[in-house]
């Protein structure tokens, strides 16, 4: 057992402070310590992306990062992207276009997609598939995930234009 560390994270805008062993992976901090259970664990080899969160503007697999490494950083999970009464356009689009079935990959998918659309607001289908390649889905066959992201992109671009 190694010495516990004092760790401060800002998760979905809220500051969290706690003591943890250095070996605590961020996904466990989120799920078990902070009860933020949207991000999931689908593998132990860093492939599936179900644990994807945004850390200081980067999409990161939170199973492959110690919370100690994230000390002082800002983290956004699916819970911080939108809520039941305030859906993000991606959340509405996944619902509308049937971009999920079991829902296990969805938090990671949407968190990653939000970052993808920030970097590339008008992605082609090929760019979406490539940009989402770190996220595996067992249910949808991806087709409707692509449609959902395209629809959300259109919606977000229209809203942006209307605001200008």
């Amino acid at each position: 057992m190694s010495k516990k560390m004092h760790i401060t994270l800002t998760v979905n805008g809220k500051e969290e402070e706690f003591l943890a062993e250095p070996r605590e992976l961020l996904i466990y901090t989120l799920r078990e310590r902070l009860n933020i259970t949207g991000p999931h664990i689908g593998c132990d080899t860093s492939h599936c992306g179900a644990c994807t969160v945004t850390i200081n503007g980067k999409s990161v697999k939170s199973c492959t990062l110690f919370s100690a490494q994230a000390n002082g950083k800002e983290i956004t999970t699916i819970e911080g992207i939108g809520g039941p009464d305030d859906l993000h356009p991606l959340q509405s689009a996944f619902k509308e276009h049937h971009g999920l079935q079991c829902g296990f990959c969805t938090p990671g998918m949407i968190t990653r997609a939000a970052k993808l659309l920030q970097e590339n607001p008008n992605p082609t289908e090929a760019e979406i598939r490539f940009g989402m390649a770190g996220n595996i889905c067992r249910c949808t066959g991806y087709q409707n995930i692509i449609k959902s992201i395209q629809a959300a992109a259109a919606e977000m671009n229209a809203a942006k234009e209307a605001a200008e």
Binding site: S2, D44, S46, S59, T64, L65, G131
Partner: protein
């Protein structure tokens, strides 16, 4: 999934890193992007009692483009490298290869230095760096030294880096001519079944220079000097391509795994090298 316990350090400078490495020897490891090391720790294939996080050590994240060399700090991530438009202009093979490594999340974290220092023959950058005749800068208790990428790899996970040294940068002579990084893989994020890095130059007599290295076809990357030599002075016609492939096959030593048996890997290596040379030549 659950790594063993370790002591965590986040030094602010290289002297601090070296001091911890000196104190703990091979019980200590540096943590860069963490996307090879942490997966190994989670499987308990790597035991690291003392983990040194490099993120606060300054000066390791720059890409400097000089008149005849590029210098890439060891902590430059794959996505930094992909996003650098100036770098893509002078050394486009780096971007082409980086886009074939892992997936977006891993590329945000995984670093160039970690990729080349890891020593896993599956990594793509080691072969690429051998093709480009890169030099790795290592710093240790006695100061800095440079090791050619072509001399760095000894066996799987065995490199010229000493336990008390840290790889701080990669320097690359500005590549000339056409380029290609061609990779056969089973899916996104997979290590190569076979991959080839090619830089090739052309003059009025045909091919004037060619550099070829292969990925994941031996327990180290393979710089095939003979394959490059087989192209020089030719018009890179079918006979030259056959000669280059034959020379390359003579240098590699693949092993059987779930990417296929040895005969298949040799066959794929030939196909991939031919494609890489053809694409590089078309760009020369």
């Amino acid at each position: 999934m659950i790594p063993a316990s370790f002591e965590y350090y986040r030094p602010k400078d290289m002297a601090g890193v070296i001091a911890i490495l000196q104190e703990h020897g091979d019980e200590a490891r540096v943590l860069a992007g963490g996307h090879s090391l942490i997966p190994m720790m989670k499987l308990r294939m790597a035991e690291v009692p003392h983990l040194i996080d490099m993120q606060d050590v300054g000066g390791l994240s720059d890409i400097e483009i000089g008149p005849d060399r590029v210098r890439i700090g060891a902590m430059v991530t794959q996505s930094d490298l992909i996003d650098d438009a100036a770098l893509a202009k002078v050394a486009p093979i780096l971007r082409e290869a980086a886009l074939q490594i892992a997936d977006p999340q891993v590329r945000y974290m995984g670093t160039v230095g970690g990729n080349v220092a890891n020593g896993d023959p599956g990594n793509d950058m080691p072969g690429l760096m051998q093709c480009l005749d890169a030099t790795f800068v290592l710093i240790g208790p006695d100061g800095e030294r440079a090791v050619a990428a072509r001399d760095f790899y000894e066996a799987a996970y065995m490199t010229a880096r000493e336990d008390e040294e840290v790889l701080t940068a990669v320097t690359i002579p500005l590549p000339k001519g056409g380029y290609a990084y061609e990779k056969q893989k089973r899916k996104i994020g997979d290590y190569a079944t076979a991959a080839a890095a090619v830089q090739i130059s052309k003059d009025q007599n045909g091919c004037s220079a060619a550099s070829i290295a292969m990925t994941n076809l031996s327990d180290t990357p393979i710089f095939s000097e003979a394959a490059g030599a087989a192209l020089v002075g030719t018009s890179v016609d079918d006979a030259a391509l056959k000669a280059a492939v034959a020379a390359m096959l003579n240098d590699i030593d693949p092993t059987e795994d779930n990417r296929g048996p040895i005969a298949f890997k040799k066959y794929v290596a030939g196909v991939i090298l031919r494609r890489a040379i053809e694409r590089a030549w078309s760009r020369a």
